[in-house]
Symmetry: C2
């Protein structure tokens, strides 16, 4: 099933207690694309400036990350600069330069319009809607958002909710959107407004899928060393959607497997800066880690 | 296998956004005892004042919570008064009156000394050690502690660690004790100092068991309504140890089942104030909820 993502394409400068990067590959579409491409080719919608390193485009093309739908605009690429606290629990944005992203108006090439699986990365919900309008007949649409749009574009977000299958947000976003502290009540509130499913990402704890059939919990993979949490949520989405695209199976059982692959790619993402870890590992390592989630949660009910 | 707990026996006054209690049954030994007694009789070590309601002792005896080892001292029972924030994430202690607990020096009746499973609830580690000294030959000792003792009695805690099988703490406590933010490295640090296992309780997210054989993750049971988190950790410990006592099986597979029962009793605890929920439900409801954890985490690896 054809898989499409729209999101930011950024050059990130990130400082964590373990080191720093400067103008490294980042943005929701990039983290998503790298993670998803282990499973299935991805068509990327976004915009880059004329300072964007061409060799990165070639590397991505070689991995099945199709950047032909990415607009090349005159000016600077989107840049984000942030610093994490000693415990990686909080981050401070030091600088955001929108650059060419400021005037971004997504236009899908014909080859992209047949996408069946769509991930609307965390950008202005008006742009997310505009992308959705250009896809002929998607089977499954997932969407991320953040506090900035929940506050600034609540009406657009409500329109968007009616047209998506799954909202993927973190717990703070689910709480803010619904006005309810309890994440299960928050998920109910969201599902009453459109999406059949809600996935709530809980960072180091894992993620929860809530739909009509019930609740599925996948833990985060236990890591003794986390370098940089940037992009983990998008990498989760990439593994999740990539697995669905590869299998073409939207059954409940397969959504659960997709959650496990999402948690897997999310965990690899945070082991290095930027997309470095994705450039080191292969499908075999991804699959091996995904399998190991079984042991992490397995128990038998003998004598229950 | 005989099961013993030492801990506080308190009269709690708790305020949450959903209501309040006054002088309700509380304390680590009580929450533990109520949870464990669904599985196996429990011998309780502690102290109460002459204001402690006698009818509560009778109710506990009827449930298999053996209070014959509890000292009756002249004076007031231990009292704790606390208030939770709107989201139940933080609590403020408004008042602590130690009462008879101030001079508590645990003395085990002969009938208690053969205990094979021991839970050292969160009290002064010097008292925890004194209890342990009076148990003939325990097979399995679990221990809780808190920031107050980590700061005030670090040397005693280190002695204690050498004599226990599992330390059960929350993530903040594991971090403080080890000086390491990462909970898996923190667990390694703790295990290098004595206990074969560490259980890290993560509140609304669940709990993790870490031992030589690996890592086991049990989520918290998804609840749309949480009334009062007080005692959840002790109720977790009660379900965990109660299941081990009932089965007499300390295998890895059974420790995992015990984690599931712990998460189950922890979840019932928070559905009402004090031990009210434990007085409403029966073994069948406990078991049914424990079974449902399977579906909460189950996935198959077809096509992985």
């Amino acid at each position: 099933m054809k898989l499409l993502v729209v999101g930011s394409i950024a050059l990130d400068s990130v400082e964590t207690p373990f080191g720093s990067t400067s103008d490294a590959l980042g943005g929701s579409a990039i983290f998503f694309g790298y993670a998803a491409a282990f499973f299935h080719p991805v068509q990327v919608v976004g915009v880059i400036g004329d300072d964007f390193p061409k060799e990165e485009l070639d590397r991505m093309a070689a991995r099945g990350i199709d950047m032909t739908g990415v607009e090349h605009a005159a000016g600077e690429s989107f840049r984000w600069k942030g610093k994490y606290s000693y415990d990686l629990q909080n981050r401070e944005t030091l600088d955001t330069r929108l650059g060419v992203f400021a005037d971004f108006d997504p236009k899908l090439p014909d080859a992209y319009r047949q996408a069946k699986l769509v991930f609307l990365g965390n950008i202005d919900p008006r742009l997310q809607l505009r992308v959705l309008d250009q896809v002929d007949k998607p089977d499954f649409v997932a969407c991320d958002t953040m506090n900035y749009w929940i506050e600034g574009q609540p009406d657009t977000l409500m329109q968007l909710l009616k047209r998506i299958d799954v909202l993927m947000v973190n717990d703070a976003e689910a709480r803010q959107l619904s006005g309810d502290w309890n994440i299960y009540r928050a998920a109910r509130w969201i599902r009453e407004r459109g999406p059949k499913m809600v996935i709530i990402k809980q960072g180091e704890y894992g993620a929860v899928l809530i739909d009509d059939s019930g609740i599925f919990y996948v833990p985060a993979f236990p890591l003794e060393d986390v370098y940089d949490p940037t992009g983990a949520g998008d990498a989760f989405a990439g593994g999740f959607m990539g697995h669905l695209a590869r299998t073409g199976d939207l059954s409940q059982a397969n959504l659960r497997r997709a959650m496990v692959f999402g948690s897997t790619t999310g965990s690899f993402c945070v082991e290095r800066f930027s997309v470095q870890r994705f450039q080191e590992v292969g499908v075999a390592e991804i699959t091996a880690r995904a399998r190991s989630f079984g042991d992490l949660v397995h128990f038998d009910t003998d004598g229950f």
